[in-house]
């Protein structure tokens, strides 16, 4: 398994944890494996900080997948 496998595996674990209903950040929809943001996520302290972090992680997933498809990525800020 290369680095891509490790990265994907790590992201997989991270997002599976993030959407876990015990943290109250997301709720499950009727469609399998699909989650929406919980409008009552205030049950979790600092929930807005978690969402900011998840936004950054989504950007990383996007960056990584886009690179894997095209080898061309002009929109990074760093």
């Amino acid at each position: 398994m290369g680095t891509a496998g490790k990265f994907n595996e790590w992201m997989e674990i991270l997002f599976q944890q993030a959407v876990d209903e015990k943290y109250g950040l997301f709720t499950k929809l009727a469609i399998p494996n699909t989650y929406e943001i919980n409008s009552e996520s205030w049950v979790q302290d600092n929930h807005l900080n978690y969402f900011e972090f998840l936004g950054k992680m989504l950007a990383k997933v996007f960056y990584y997948h886009f690179n894997a498809i095209t080898d061309f990525f002009p929109f990074s800020r760093h």
């Binding site: 943001i37 409008s39 807005l48 936004g55 950007a59 498809i69 929109f75």
Partner: protein, 150 residues
């Protein structure tokens, strides 16, 4: 290219909000099918004697909070003339208004790493496909970029 698909998926409306796209009534099917049916029938059938007002509800830290979709929404009854506005406001509130703070913070994090202008040429479906690595026939973008790789 390694075979990988995200096992955690988000509804189309999530990606539309993330990438600043217009929400449509169909986006509601995934999130709240019951409300979709209700709003759809309001659009298709005459209002008649149904008593609907410009209000929605939200579970707050203490009990349920009533949310006005418009100023004075409590007194404003939905009629044939304003039903399109009601459906639009209800749709926006359900998909975005309810989770506004969460979504704003998520977008803040997202756009600190990538810049918004890049996404303009792509549809929400194409961007979702990149995010989740879903093989999607409708996404011409994927096809084009594959041919570049060859």
């Amino acid at each position: 290219m390694e075979k990988f698909e995200m096992k955690v998926l988000f509804p189309v409306s999530f990606y539309k909000i993330l990438f600043n796209r217009q929400l449509t009534l169909e986006d509601l099917i995934e999130v709240n099918p019951q409300l979709f049916e209700d709003l759809y029938s309001i659009l298709k059938e005459p209002i008649g004697t149904k008593e609907i007002y410009f209000v929605s509800s939200l579970n707050a830290p203490v009990g349920t909070k009533e949310v006005l979709l418009k100023p004075n929404g409590r007194e404003l009854r939905v009629t044939e003339e304003n039903k399109h506005e009601y459906v639009k406001l209800m749709l926006e509130y359900t998909l975005f208004g309810k989770i506004k703070d969460q979504m704003i913070n998520l977008k803040k994090g997202f756009y600190t790493l990538v810049s918004e202008e890049f996404f303009l040429p792509f549809t929400a479906c194409e961007l979702e496909a990149v995010m989740c690595r879903i093989p999607c026939v409708e996404c011409k973008f994927i096809v084009v970029s594959d041919s570049i790789n060859c």
